[in-house]
């Protein structure tokens, strides 16, 4: 038998390399920790807003209308004299729920369609992809608008509207992934040892296919919240006395000259949350890839 293909020598360059890459790894871990912290904070805001917010979102301070940020009102007050910080905290619930459920529903349906189209091919592929193309020809906001207008504005309908408009991208990416992975040699290798197609699909094709979807979903979350905001702006949002981030954002637009803080802080909240989710999504993808797994 041959000797093993190992080289058991200490090498100088490896040590140097380790020190160098340690710094980068450290930074990545810090960013990941910050992202998790931010996401956790927003989730707390959504579940138990009264722990975080100083005032009720409906409470008005008639004496302090359009006040810039101060210690009393961290993010200032709006034109009704409501505390913007409290509004942002309370508004997180609807926005987060809307974004997350839209991404889950849209991503799942899209991935399912893409998987079917890519795996079965032929006539199924053709029909499904033509349907996807029809959806794609309509601008996504317009489509969401149309659906919301037809179904009426409730939370569920809003989720449906936003997720339908997100389906095509997920479906296309997933189809491409499946098509390329199912022709990889390791799939044939599994066939050659007598694996069932269903097992090959579940254990080889799917696990190798879905990681781009994770990144897309984390980007899509931001898009979903913004589409939700857009619909709110057009009056098709969730009707509630507590406005969501999108509604806050669009309302504040009218006062941008008098009070920049009204729309800036909800906007920052969206940006921060989306950024945190993106970092988490990237790191999740790396964790799922054995080549990039952090040790």
């Amino acid at each position: 038998m041959q000797k093993l293909e190992t080289i058991k020598t200490k090498s100088v360059s490896k040590l140097k390399l380790k020190r160098f890459s340690k710094g980068i790894l450290h930074l990545e871990k810090m960013m990941l920790a910050a992202a998790i912290f931010i996401i956790a904070f927003f989730i707390i805001c959504a579940i138990v807003p009264h722990w975080v917010a100083m005032y009720s979102p409906t409470k008005m301070f008639p004496t302090a209308i359009l006040q810039p940020p101060s210690f009393k009102h961290l993010f200032g007050t709006d034109y009704f004299g409501r505390d913007v910080f409290s509004l942002v905290v309370y508004g997180s619930k609807t926005s987060l729920l809307l974004g997350i459920s839209a991404v889950i529903v849209g991503g799942f349906i899209g991935a399912l369609i893409g998987t079917l189209a890519g795996y079965i091919e032929g006539i199924v592929d053709m029909i499904l992809m033509r349907m996807i193309e029809i959806i794609q020809t309509i601008p996504s906001v317009l489509l969401a608008l149309a659906i919301a207008a037809v179904l009426g504005s409730s939370f569920t309908n809003l989720v449906i509207a936003i997720s339908v408009s997100a389906i095509p991208t997920y479906a296309r990416v997933m189809r491409g992934q499946i098509l390329s992975i199912k022709n990889r040699p390791y799939i044939l290798a599994s066939k050659s040892i007598g694996m069932r197609n269903s097992v090959i699909f579940l254990k080889h094709v799917l696990p190798n296919a879905y990681s781009p979807l994770l990144v897309m979903a984390s980007n899509g979350l931001g898009m979903a919240i913004l589409t939700g905001a857009g619909l709110s702006f057009l009056g098709l949002g969730v009707v509630s006395e507590i406005p969501d981030w999108g509604f806050l954002l669009s309302q504040g637009r009218n006062y941008i000259a008098a009070g920049w803080w009204i729309s800036t802080f909800p906007g920052l909240a969206i940006a921060l949350f989306v950024l945190a989710v993106n970092i988490l999504g990237d790191s999740l993808r790396d964790q799922l890839d054995p080549k990039k797994r952090l040790s």
Partner: protein, 667 residues
């Protein structure tokens, strides 16, 4: 110094990525004289391509940085030039021929447009002049119908034709230096021989210097005046072609030379190989970089890096070379040939394991009524315990034949009997059951195992399918045992594929193939993707396993030397048909089919004389969608007659165990 065309002094190239700096080439020195051909030889990862790209300063587009050293062309240091000056040197002074001709041309422009553009740019010719010169050049590199070729797009030309066009492009501006990076690696042997012959002619005619980069010492021996052997980013030996091949001055060179199966070693049981693999850039050993794989390494080698020292006009980076070349075993001819083994097999009472009966596999293509006849009426038998080699150029259908035998492709017609039972029209579940007995080893060690699975899971997969009810403990033991058998450390079972080298991954693939004790293994180009030294290790492993486990192999390969070494019988395939089949030695010594004869003549050999050999075979394999009438080989056959185009010859047994499909079987 002044008469050197190119002087490389202390060139060092690093790769910078987000998280690391890796040293790919460290302080190398060499010179190229006008009209000299020098060759950089080494395995993958030795830094030879990086060196060539550094000379063109193309390495900067791949995250490489030249950190030290000078590259002097004429009287200018290329390392210091600005990009504006560089673009006038690239193509004009230094031209490049790439490995993969099909991807080196831009697919949206015609060959003519790309040639003309280059000449207009560098030679300031008018469009018309450039076009005329283009036609002349294409004629010179041996392309038929040059006027037609000028108007064709890259995808309309075959690999060999494209490589010729690429050479035309390289010589179009009369460069001082041509860098040819593995110019024949992607081509079939017959086409490789043609391209080498062409390069040789051009070398004489244009007196251009050539820097040839190759992993194949036999290609180097055909063209090079001087050879530089690279290992792990360093030059370890420099010698003239004659010196190097008569007496290597470095243990690595010696190992490389011995890894090539030659006529003497053909029937030997084991091929000499270099143990281990080339170190990765991140894990360079201290001292002499070759010492972990060197049989002669001493304490000094482990600690101090040997410099490149001069020995009567040649250079070697080995501390002990003076003593080593005195040793009797340094150039020993290997053990005596064991001939009786071959004869023994022939006289044995033989049991048929697989019988292939007029097997057909056609693929429909979009053009109406046309079919690609990938496998066209093939019949042969494989006996228990033997190795059948299957050779042919790419496009001959050998891989498809292998897969159709294993029922990984559904045959269009014909039958395959395994142990006397047909496996063609079995139900899915029954076929899955049969797979226990027939396994496959794949060509690509990188693609054929799932990157998301650990080694343990990969090897356990067939066990789980076929040995239902095996306990976790037994499974664990079996995996450990298998890893040991294929020469891997059992402790590595929870690692992922990317942590292994190509050779090690191929061992994983082999462990998986033998996990459930199959009786038949299809090895589809199982060693083609590996470096020569590692290739020999895997071949030895396959032969050991055959003896130990009584395996039967169908070994598909394009390297005839290796097939000759492994196989008991060899089948030669051309355009979907087996044109000749005979016991290995008989076939190689006394080929009856003109195609077999041509293939054998095109086999790369160490050529110490630089004499241009007669090209064995013109042209390239026709498209299987449109095969010639009558005998498929007639379009390239020097002996073809009217009769061959009208009537297809039968596959007849002209001697015991020796069948040929030719009207005029050679005498």
């Amino acid at each position: 110094m002044m008469d050197n065309l190119l002087t490389v002094e202390g060139l060092t190239v690093d790769f910078k990525s987000k998280s690391s700096v890796l040293n790919a080439v460290s302080t190398i020195f060499f010179t190229i004289k006008p009209s000299e051909t020098i060759c950089l030889v080494g395995e993958s990862g030795s830094g030879k391509s990086v060196t060539s790209k550094a000379i063109m300063r193309l390495i900067e587009y791949e995250n490489g940085v030249i950190t030290k050293g000078t590259v002097t062309l004429g009287n200018r240091d290329i390392v210091k030039l600005s990009n504006r000056v560089l673009i006038n040197i690239r193509g004009k002074k230094i031209a490049m021929i790439f490995q993969e001709p099909s991807t080196a041309f831009d697919p949206v422009f015609t060959i003519g447009q790309q040639l003309v553009e280059m000449m207009q740019r560098h030679l300031k010719l008018s469009k018309k002049q450039a076009y005329e010169r283009g036609v002349q050049l294409l004629t010179r590199v041996g392309l038929s119908d040059p006027n037609v070729r000028m108007e064709q797009f890259p995808h309309e030309l075959s690999g060999g034709m494209l490589q010729r066009a690429m050479i035309a492009m390289a010589i179009s501006c009369n460069p001082d230096l041509i860098i040819a990076d593995e110019p024949t690696t992607a081509l079939d042997v017959t086409v490789q021989a043609q391209i080498i012959a062409l390069l040789k002619e051009l070398k004489e005619e244009y007196r251009t210097s050539i820097l040839l980069i190759t992993h194949d010492l036999s290609v180097a021996s055909q063209l090079a005046d001087r050879i530089f052997v690279m290992y792990a980013g360093e030059i370890v030996e420099q010698a003239s072609m004659e010196q190097l091949f008569s007496l290597p001055y470095h243990p690595y060179t010696r190992g490389l030379l011995q890894s090539i199966p030659n006529e003497h070693q053909i029937k030997q049981k084991r091929l000499p190989s270099i143990e281990g693999t080339i170190p990765t850039l991140a894990e360079m050993p201290a001292g002499c970089r070759f010492h972990p794989r060197c049989a002669f390494a001493t304490e000094k080698c482990r600690e101090e890096r040997p410099p490149l020292r001069n020995f009567q006009g040649r250079e070697s980076a080995c501390w002990h070379i003076k003593e080593l070349i005195q040793k009797p075993e340094w150039l020993v001819e290997n053990d005596p040939v064991i001939e009786d083994e071959v004869d023994y097999r022939e006289n044995q009472e033989r049991e048929v394991l697989l019988e292939i009966k007029s097997l057909h596999k056609y693929y429909p293509i979009k053009q109406a009524n046309k079919k690609i006849k990938a496998v066209n009426n093939v019949s042969f038998q494989i006996f228990k315990g033997e190795t059948v080699g299957l050779v042919g150029e790419s496009g001959s259908g050998k891989s498809t034949l292998g897969r159709t035998i294993l029922q990984l492709e559904t045959p269009t017609a014909g039958d395959v009997l395994f142990n006397g039972q047909s496996i063609v029209h079995l139900r899915k579940s029954a076929m899955r059951d049969r797979r226990k007995h027939m396994q496959m080893i794949f060509q690509d060690p990188y693609g054929s195992i799932d990157p998301k699975w650990t080694i343990k899971e990969i090897i356990a997969e067939p066990l789980k399918v076929h040995l239902k009810g095996i306990s976790a403990n037994e499974m664990e033991n079996r995996i450990q045992q298998l890893l040991q058998v294929v020469g891997l450390n059992p402790e590595w079972s929870s690692r992922y594929p990317h942590e292994f080298s190509g050779g090690q991954r191929q061992r994983i693939g082999i462990a998986r193939a033998i996990a459930i004790n199959p009786s038949f293994i299809l090895a589809d180009e199982a060693v083609s993707a590996l470096d020569v030294s590692v290739q020999a290790q895997i071949i030895n492993l396959l032969k050991d396993l055959q003896q130990k486990l009584g395996l039967t192999y169908l070994f598909i390969g394009h390297d005839l030397n290796i097939v000759r070494h492994v196989a008991d019988r060899v089948a030669v395939m051309y355009l979907g048909k087996i044109v000749e089949m005979a016991p290995s030695e008989k076939l190689f010594q006394d080929p009856k089919h003109p195609y077999t004869k041509a293939l054998i003549a095109a086999m790369p050999k160490i050529n110490r004389s630089h004499i241009t050999e007669q090209i064995s075979l013109d042209g390239e394999i026709p498209s299987p969608a449109n095969p010639p009438s009558g005998c498929a080989f007639r379009t390239r056959c020097p002996f073809a007659t009217e009769h061959c185009s009208r009537e297809e010859p039968d596959f007849v047994e002209i001697a015991p165990n020796h069948s040929v499909q030719c009207h005029y079987a050679l005498n």
